[in-house]
C-alpha cells in the first residue's frame, strides 16, 4: 500500500474510532446554542468531519472512471 493510500485508509477509518468517545461519556456541558449537550454536538461535529473527509477522498483518491462517461 502506498503512503497516499495508507493516508486515506486512516482518514476513512478515523471516524469509526472517534465515534466511540468513551473519554467524555458523561460530559453534558457546555450546552451548545443553549439547548444541545456537548456529547451530541461532538457527534454532529464528527458527522461534519465525515463530510470533509469524504469530499476530500472523492476529489483526490477516487479512481478514474474507466468507462469515460
Amino acid at each position: 500500500m502506498t503512503g497516499k493510500a495508507m493516508f486515506w485508509f486512516i482518514m476513512m477509518f478515523l471516524p469509526f474510532v472517534l465515534y466511540v468517545d468513551f473519554w467524555q461519556w458523561d460530559t453534558v456541558n457546555p450546552i451548545v446554542f443553549g439547548w444541545m449537550p456537548w456529547h451530541v454536538f461532538y457527534q454532529v461535529l464528527l458527522n461534519i468531519l465525515m463530510v470533509v473527509i469524504f469530499a476530500g477522498f472523492c476529489k483526490y483518491h477516487w479512481p478514474k472512471n474507466p468507462f469515460n462517461d
Binding site: 469509526f16 439547548w35 456529547h39 474507466p66
Partner: protein, 498 residues
C-alpha cells in the same frame, strides 16, 4: 367523518396522488427493456441517487421509534443512530463502487448474481439470495402496518388502520408496477424532500409552542437531566450498535440495486458526501422532539412514546397540519417499501426464476414476469400486514444483524482473491445460524452481558470465512472467474495508487 378528519384525509390523498403521479410520469419510458425497468437503465444521476438512497434507508423508525427511544433514553440516541448510519457511507465507496464497476462491465442486475459470478458459483448466488430474501421480504411486509397506524392516527380514527394499509400498498404497487426502479427513484426524490422539509417544520412548529429550544432544554434539564446525558447507554451497546448499523445498512439488497443503477461514479460520490448531512438534518429534530415530549406528555410507557410527535402536533395544531407534517412518515414507509418491492422481484426473477424455472425466458418477457412478482408480493404484503405472524416480527427485529453478518463475505468477494466460494457460503451460514440461535432464544442474550448478538455473529462469520477459505482450493472455473473479475478491478485501482 368530521371536518378536521376530512382535512387530514384530503392532505393524505393529495400526498399519495402527487407521489403516484411523479412515479408514473418519470417511469413511463422505463418499461421498454429489462435493464430500463429493473435498473432505471443505469441512469440515476447524483441528486436522484442521493435522495433515493436516503429515502430508502430512512424508514418509519426515524419518525416513530427514534423519538420514542429519545423520550425514554435521551438525546444520546443521536450518536447511536445518526453517526452510525453516516459511518455506513464509507461502504458506498468500499462496496458500492466495486459493485457499480462490475455491474457496468458484466451487466449484473442483482447482488446475488454479482457475488456468485465472482466465484462462478451458483451456491454463493443461492445462499446470498436466501439470506437477502428472508430479511428483506419480512422487513417489506411489516412496513405498511406502520402506514396504517399513521393514517389512523392522523384522521383521528376515522380511517381504520387496515384501510390505511391497503391505500398505501395500492399506491406503491401502481407506480412500481408501471415504472419500475425509475419510478421508485423519482418518487423517492419527492419523498426524500418531503421527509427533510416536514421534519424541520415539525421541529419549528412544536418547539415554538413550548417556548423555544433553549427554554425547553432548560425545563427538561430541571425535571429529567438524565435525558441530556448518556447514562442510559453502555459503551458495549454503543459499539455493538455501531457495528450493526455500519455493517448492515450498506449491504441492504435495495442499496445494491441503487449502486448498480448509478449513472457514473459522481452519483456515488455525491451520495457518500451528503449522507452525513442528511443524518444531522433528520435525527437532530426528531430526537430532540422525542426528549422534549416528556414536557408535554410525561409518563408515557413503552411503545406509547413512539407516537410522541403526532401526539404533540395534534395537541397544538389542527389535524390537517399534523397530516401535512406526518406525510414525512408515509414518505419514509413508502420509499423503503417501494425499493424493497422492486429489488425483491428483480432478485426472484434474475437469481431464481430464470436460472431454475424458465431458462428460455425472452428478454422482452422479463418485465412482464417481474411485474407478476411485484403484484404477488404486494398481495402477500396486504395479507401479512393485516395478519402479522410473530415469526415475521422476530425476523424483522433481527434483520440488521442478519444483514451485518453478510458483510465479511461480500467484502471478501470484492477484495480478497484468496477467498473461496465454499468459504463465503460457510461464512454466511455460520453467521446466520448464530443470529438464529440468539433470535429464537436458544442461546440466551444474557450470556453477552451488554454486548449485542451481532458482535459474536460477525466475528464467527469472519473467522469461518478466513479458515474455510484457507482450507479449500478454487476449482479451475472458480479461479478463472476470480482472475477475470479481480483482474478488471485491479486494473482500475492500480491507477488510484500510482
Amino acid at each position: 367523518m368530521s371536518g378536521p378528519a376530512m382535512g387530514a384525509m384530503a392532505v393524505i390523498i393529495c400526498y399519495l396522488a402527487i407521489t403516484l403521479g411523479i412515479g408514473i410520469y418519470s417511469g413511463r419510458q422505463s418499461a421498454k427493456s429489462s435493464e430500463g425497468y429493473f435498473l432505471a437503465a443505469r441512469e440515476l444521476g447524483p441528486y436522484v441517487m442521493f435522495f433515493t438512497l436516503f429515502a430508502t434507508n430512512i424508514s418509519a423508525f426515524a419518525y416513530m421509534g427514534a423519538p420514542g427511544g429519545a423520550y425514554h433514553l435521551g438525546v444520546g440516541f443521536f450518536g447511536y443512530l445518526a453517526t452510525t448510519t453516516s459511518l455506513a457511507a464509507v461502504f458506498f465507496y468500499a462496496i458500492g463502487y466495486r459493485t457499480w464497476l462490475l455491474g457496468r462491465k458484466y451487466e449484473f442486475m442483482t447482488a446475488p448474481q454479482l457475488l456468485g459470478a465472482i466465484y462462478n458459483s451458483r451456491g454463493v448466488t443461492l445462499v446470498m439470495l436466501l439470506a437477502f430474501a428472508v430479511f428483506t421480504v419480512a422487513y417489506m411486509l411489516v412496513q405498511p402496518i406502520g402506514a396504517g397506524y399513521v393514517i389512523n392516527a392522523i384522521t383521528g380514527g376515522a380511517i381504520p388502520a387496515y384501510v390505511g394499509v391497503l391505500m398505501v400498498l395500492i399506491f406503491i404497487t401502481i407506480y412500481v408496477f408501471m415504472g419500475g426502479l425509475k419510478a421508485t427513484a423519482y418518487a423517492d426524490l419527492f419523498q426524500g424532500s418531503i421527509m427533510i422539509i416536514c421534519v424541520a417544520l415539525a421541529f419549528l412548529l412544536i418547539v415554538f409552542k413550548i417556548g423555544g429550544p433553549t427554554e425547553a432544554a432548560h425545563n427538561l434539564m430541571a425535571i429529567s437531566p438524565e435525558l441530556f446525558g448518556r447514562g442510559n447507554f453502555s459503551l458495549e451497546q454503543w459499539i455493538s450498535f455501531g457495528l450493526v448499523i455500519a455493517l448492515g445498512v450498506p449491504v441492504f439488497p435495495q442499496l445494491f440495486t441503487k449502486y448498480l443503477a448509478a449513472k457514473n461514479p459522481d452519483s456515488l460520490k455525491t451520495t457518500m458526501t451528503l449522507y452525513p448531512v442528511a443524518m444531522i438534518v433528520i435525527y437532530i429534530p426528531v430526537l430532540f422532539l422525542g426528549a422534549f415530549g416528556t414536557l408535554v406528555f410525561p409518563g408515557l410507557e413503552g411503545k406509547a412514546s413512539d407516537s410522541i410527535i403526532p401526539m404533540m402536533l395534534q395537541n397544538f395544531y389542527a389535524p390537517w397540519v399534523g397530516a401535512l407534517v406526518l406525510s414525512a412518515v408515509l414518505a419514509a414507509i413508502m420509499s423503503t417499501t417501494a425499493s424493497q418491492l422492486i429489488t425483491i422481484s428483480t432478485m426472484i426473477l434474475k437469481d431464481f426464476y430464470i436460472p431454475y424455472v424458465n431458462k428460455n425466458l425472452s428478454a422482452d418477457k422479463e418485465v412482464t414476469v417481474g411485474r407478476v412478482f411485484i403484484f404477488v408480493l404486494a398481495i402477500l404484503a396486504c395479507y401479512i400486514a393485516l395478519n402479522p405472524p410473530s415469526a415475521i416480527l422476530t425476523i424483522v427485529t433481527w434483520a440488521f444483524t442478519g444483514y451485518a453478518v453478510l458483510t465479511p463475505g461480500i467484502l471478501a468477494a470484492l477484495y480478497w482473491r484468496g477467498s473461496t466460494a465454499t468459504g463465503v457460503i460457510c461464512s454466511v451460514l455460520a453467521g446466520e445460524a448464530t443470529v438464529a440461535l440468539f433470535a429464537f432464544g436458544i442461546i440466551p442474550a444474557s450470556v453477552l452481558g451488554n454486548w449485542q448478538a451481532c458482535v459474536p455473529a460477525v466475528i464467527i462469520s469472519t473467522v469461518v470465512l478466513i479458515v474455510v477459505s484457507l482450507m479449500t482450493k478454487h476449482s479451475p472455473d472458480e479461479q478463472r472467474a476470480i482472475d477475470d473479475k479481480h483482474g478488471f478491478m485491479d486494473s482500475i485501482f492500480k491507477s488510484q495508487n500510482a
